[in-house]
């Protein structure tokens, strides 16, 4: 217990922060009342590409890779960047539409 007690306040803080994050996310989700019909608000693959990929790196052009290569890269990025599968699929479809041959 002695070895544990020294970092106990920080563990409490960490768990508290994690819980706060979860709560904030839930509240934010609940308070984001849709002002438009859901169908109009649905993000396209292009939107999701800009939102998720642009966070970490400059834009990679769809023509840089073949459709098959984009499939592999998006599988890699889905894991690395924690993308929900449906969003990853939408981004993949967007990239494959104009992919190189």
């Amino acid at each position: 217990m002695s070895q544990f007690s020294s970092r106990w306040p920080f563990l409490q803080l960490g768990v508290g922060l994690a819980a706060a994050l979860l709560a904030t996310a839930m509240v934010s989700c609940a308070t984001h009342a849709p002002s438009k019909p859901a169908a109009e608000q649905k993000l396209t693959g292009q939107d999701l590409y800009a939102i998720n990929c642009g966070r970490c790196h400059p834009e990679r052009y769809a023509t840089e890779r073949t459709a098959g290569q984009w499939k592999t890269i998006m599988l890699h990025m889905q894991v690395r960047a924690n993308l929900p599968p449906d969003q990853a699929k939408a981004v993949l479809k967007y990239l494959q539409e104009d992919s190189g041959r």
């Binding site: 970092r7 994050l21 979860l22 996310a25 608000q41 999701l48 966070r55 690395r80």
Partner: protein, 463 residues
């Protein structure tokens, strides 16, 4: 009598034929062969269904393309008719429509030749070359780095990925170790298996989700030529073990909640005589045991995880906030059950496509056999602003991003070092960047981190 004789003769003939003629093929097939054949048929059936599905999707896509062409042709026709009545169609509009029609026609004329292959192998990664001028020393080309990542997609749900770091470090300024040294290190090698919509199983030598830096610091992504001190000295970047991770979309705006939970072998001691301060080896649970052999030093794995919340707003205009907390806890020496733990808070903010702020706070705890508890900790924060946001009509300016970073580390043994970095990123292309920074370093431990200011330039390419 005659009839009975004929029957007997016929029966005899049947018996002879039964002996002479080869046995039916079915009688020679073993159960294993039958099962193999059955599995082959099932596989072929499945492949046929997949092909039919893909074909249906292709047909659907082509039908949509034809509709688009028809619509565009109608627009063209309407535009042509409208021209004499005074609603003139400009040459630019006409060319734009014609270009769109031509593009779609090409797509329909040359559809993909078949479904995408189930397997694919490719190499991505980055490469860097670096020039450094350290205060009081000669300047020179200091680092050449090639960091390929091998990706093998085995199926739609299985990916093997391995990253290597091959570099040459030149030491023109260090009299103690003149010349150059080369190294090849394995950054990570992991197998990813998509379990379902919300969980992916990762196993192998994994980049650890302690904060976000370890997973997002490839040379061409980092806007500085080096890592924050806390990343190089008090946190492990990777570990051998297994992990479950995933993300849950919270609404239609792209908001997500990400999680990761893992077990790894954890850190160990670099000496065979217990766990004195300074011997903590964050790179893995292999070291010198009491009998002088290299082996796993303890049997207790470490456990860790991260929870992250990502909130984008204003659609695709690059306004977003990401917050995360993560940690790891475990034993680093079995002899006296000394433990090591870490807690990391990370944050990143984008206000439009031009402004970025991000950072991490890292706190660690280590029990030692000579000094009791020590608390190495530190933090870093950086800002970036792309000058394209000023909308100046000047050459080169729109491809420049100005960056600054502050980072600080305390090793828990009295050493404290801080660094101010000011620099730029010049985007030659979207993947070729020329970056540079000036770093002002102040500290009280010349042996670990010399307090020598330095100027660094780096050319980096992501591929």
């Amino acid at each position: 009598m005659m009839t009975r004789s004929l029957i007997l003769e016929a029966a005899a003939a049947v018996c002879i034929l039964a002996v002479i003629l080869p046995q039916p093929a079915a009688a020679e097939v073993s159960d294993d062969e039958f099962k193999a054949l059955k599995e082959a048929v099932q596989q072929l059936t499945q492949q046929q269904q997949e092909l039919l599905k893909q074909h249906a999707e292709d047909q659907k896509q082509r039908a949509e393309d034809r509709q688009k062409i028809q619509k565009l042709e109608e627009q063209l026709s309407a535009a042509s008719k409208a021209q004499p009545s005074g609603e003139a169609v400009t040459g630019e509009q006409f060319n734009s429509l014609k270009s769109a029609v031509d593009k779609l026609s090409q797509q329909v004329a040359a559809p993909p030749s078949g479904p995408f292959a189930l397997q694919d192998f490719m190499i991505v990664g980055d490469a860097e070359t670096q020039f450094a001028k350290v205060q009081g020393q000669h300047g020179g080309f200091a680092l050449f780095d090639f960091a390929p990542i091998f990706l093998l997609r085995a199926s739609d749900k299985v990916l093997f990925e391995a990253g290597f770091d091959i570099n040459l470090v030149d030491n023109p300024q260090d009299n103690n170790t003149p010349g150059a040294s080369t190294s090849l290190t394995l950054s990570f090698a992991q197998l990813d298996y998509l379990l379902n919509q919300y969980a992916t199983l990762v196993s192998g030598y994994m980049l650890l989700p302690l904060g976000t830096y370890a997973e997002r610091n490839a040379g061409w992504l980092n806007k500085f030529p080096d890592d924050p001190f806390v990343r190089d000295f008090i946190l492990p970047g990777a570990g051998a073990g297994a992990q479950v991770r995933g993300a849950v979309p919270l609404d239609a705006s792209g908001q997500t909640l990400a999680y990761a939970a893992y077990v790894v072998d954890g850190p160990s001691s670099s000496v065979s005589t217990g766990a004195p301060a300074g011997s903590l080896d964050l790179t893995g649970n292999v070291g010198i045991t009491n009998n002088g052999k290299f082996a796993n030093l303890h049997a207790s794995p470490s456990a860790g995880g991260r929870v992250g919340w990502f909130l984008p707003w204003k659609g695709h205009d690059h306004y977003d906030l990401e917050l995360g907390v993560s940690g790891q806890d475990g034993v680093w020496n079995n002899a006296n059950n000394e433990s090591w733990a870490a807690a990391v808070g990370d944050a990143a903010l984008h206000l439009g496509p031009y402004f970025e702020a991000k950072g991490e706070y890292v706190n660690t705890w280590a029990e030692t056999s000579d000094l009791g508890h020590i608390y190495p900790h530190g933090w870093w924060a950086q800002l970036g602003y792309k000058l394209a946001g000023l909308d100046l009509d000047l050459p080169l300016i729109n491809d420049v991003e100005l960056v600054s970073r502050y980072d600080e580390i305390r090793d828990g043994l009295g050493m404290r070092t801080e660094r101010y970095s000011f620099g730029y990123v010049y985007y030659l292309t979207n993947t070729l960047h020329f970056i540079g920074d000036y770093e002002i370093i102040n500290g009280n431990s010349q042996a670990v981190i010399p307090s020598a200011n330095q100027l660094i330039f780096q050319l980096t390419y992501g591929f």
